[in-house]
Amino acid sequence: MCLGVPMRVVSVGEDGVVAEIDGVRKDASLMLLDEEVKEGDFIIVHAGFAISKLDEEDARETLRLMREVFRPEDMA
């Protein structure tokens, strides 16, 4: 129940968006989101409401730093 799912915004309407993950599309209300969203953004959807926007840059940076630290050759 508490599962929040990251989904990609495919269209933005007046009160909500249509978001998609793995080919499944769902409506998500924007009533609880205090950030602007546009098509292509990733949002966390919980029980039909967008609750947070996913900072993709931050995610990529985390991964980049980790890859740098954990190079396969260092992990024998």
């Binding site: 029980a47 409401f49 900072d55 931050d58 995610a59 990529r60 985390t62 954990f70």
Partner: protein, 363 residues
């Protein structure tokens, strides 16, 4: 969504595991970290993360499954409500199979009660709009992530001037049980893996008292294996350094201020109250009730019912498991009398329950 999969990168997970091993190599004293989110519990079992950790690092599960911490009394009240003529009970799916004292919503449905499983509380509002002759009662359980969604549904029902949408509210907030567990000398928790999406709403400050008053490190962690292993590494690093801070590993989603709009919806519709937790008992200020201004939407006030006397399930260790004092295998019913097909206790019913995760993925 490719980069989400990258948070499952085997090499990074292994790298984090070896870093944790190095960090704690010289220590004899084990450190115990508790996760208080059902989705974390599922991920830890699903990816076998315990097997990657050295013996000095122990992960235990706490009261993180919203359905599991909901006591029998609430389920008995829901059962009584669904027996009222012209009432439709709308609920998230994992509530229907939880046994109350003598029945469950699933059993009541088989007997003819109108019980609908919905994905969003807004679906329940739509159900009320489409059935003006009926009264729709949504079962409002969950933590800070779900509370604003259900508050939002009440605001939506008000906007549509619906007089037949109600919520049976039993929301709970996470910091208070963490205070109770932190003060328990039997548990001795050395760090918290703080919930991800609860924190997206509350922000990291909600846990500051744990770090400052109880000197327990806290890390808000995402759900993927890389997130969880990095969260454990950050906790171990704090323990080794003798520090206690609230850190956010899941910064791609959790903002320092949390989600102010969702916080405002909670404040508008709910007010704190004392609440009973399965296995823990009543915790002051740990629940959310509907404020008087929205009493017209409060099923507890508008639709009175007689509730049967509450009975606990004999032999079930759910209470001890929710406190982190027992593991699923310690329960005499686990995988015998109690299975996901025929659950005795709530921890086996919900997919976020510790027993369900242990049963599905093994120990």
């Amino acid at each position: 969504m490719k980069y989400q999969d990258e948070f499952r990168d085997r090499d990074i997970v292994q790298g984090l595991a070896s870093r944790i091993r190095e960090l704690v190599a010289g220590r004899r004293e084990p450190m115990t970290f508790m996760e208080v989110c059902g989705t974390h519990t599922m991920s830890i079992y699903q990816y076998g993360l315990r097997t990657l950790l050295p013996p000095q690092v122990r992960l235990i599960s706490g009261p993180g499954c919203p359905v599991c911490v909901t006591p029998n009394e609430y389920l008995d009240r829901a059962v009584a409500l669904c027996r009222v003529p012209e009432v439709i009970v709308a609920t998230f799916g994992d509530m229907v199979r939880v046994p109350g004292s003598t029945s469950s919503l699933l059993e009541e449905r088989a007997k003819g009660a109108d019980i609908r499983i919905v994905y969003s509380p807004l679906d329940a509002v739509a159900l009320a709009a489409a059935n003006p002759g009926k009264r729709v009662v949504f079962l409002g359980v969950g933590f800070e992530t779900t509370a604003p969604a259900i508050g939002g549904s009440i605001l939506a029902a008000k906007k549509q001037s619906l007089g037949n949408y109600f919520v049976l509210a039993a929301h709970k907030t996470m910091p208070q049980p963490m205070r109770v567990l932190s003060a328990d000398p039997e548990l001795k928790i050395d760090g918290y893996i703080c919930p991800a999406h609860v924190s997206a709403i509350t922000g990291p400050d909600a846990y500051r008292f744990l770090a400052e008053e109880f000197r327990i490190p806290c890390v808000i962690t995402g759900f993927e294996p890389v997130d969880l292993m990095q969260g454990v590494e950050m906790l171990a690093r704090q323990v080794v350094a003798g520090e206690s801070r609230v850190e956010t590993q899941y910064s791609r989603v959790v903002r320092p201020e949390g989600n102010r709009k969702a916080q405002a919806v909670i404040r508008e519709v709910f007010t704190p109250c004392d609440a009973p937790w399965r296995g823990i008992g009543v915790i002051p200020g740990s629940g959310l009730r509907i404020v008087d201004a929205y009493a017209a939407f409060d099923a507890g006030k508008i639709i009175p019912v007689e509730v049967e006397e509450t009975k606990e399930h004999a032999g079930c260790l759910c209470g001890e498991i929710l406190k982190g004092k027992a593991a699923p295998a310690d329960c005499p019913l686990f995988a015998g009398a109690c299975t996901p097909e025929s659950p005795v206790g709530a921890c086996m019913v919900s997919s976020e329950g510790t027993c369900a995760a242990a049963y599905k993925y093994g120990q």
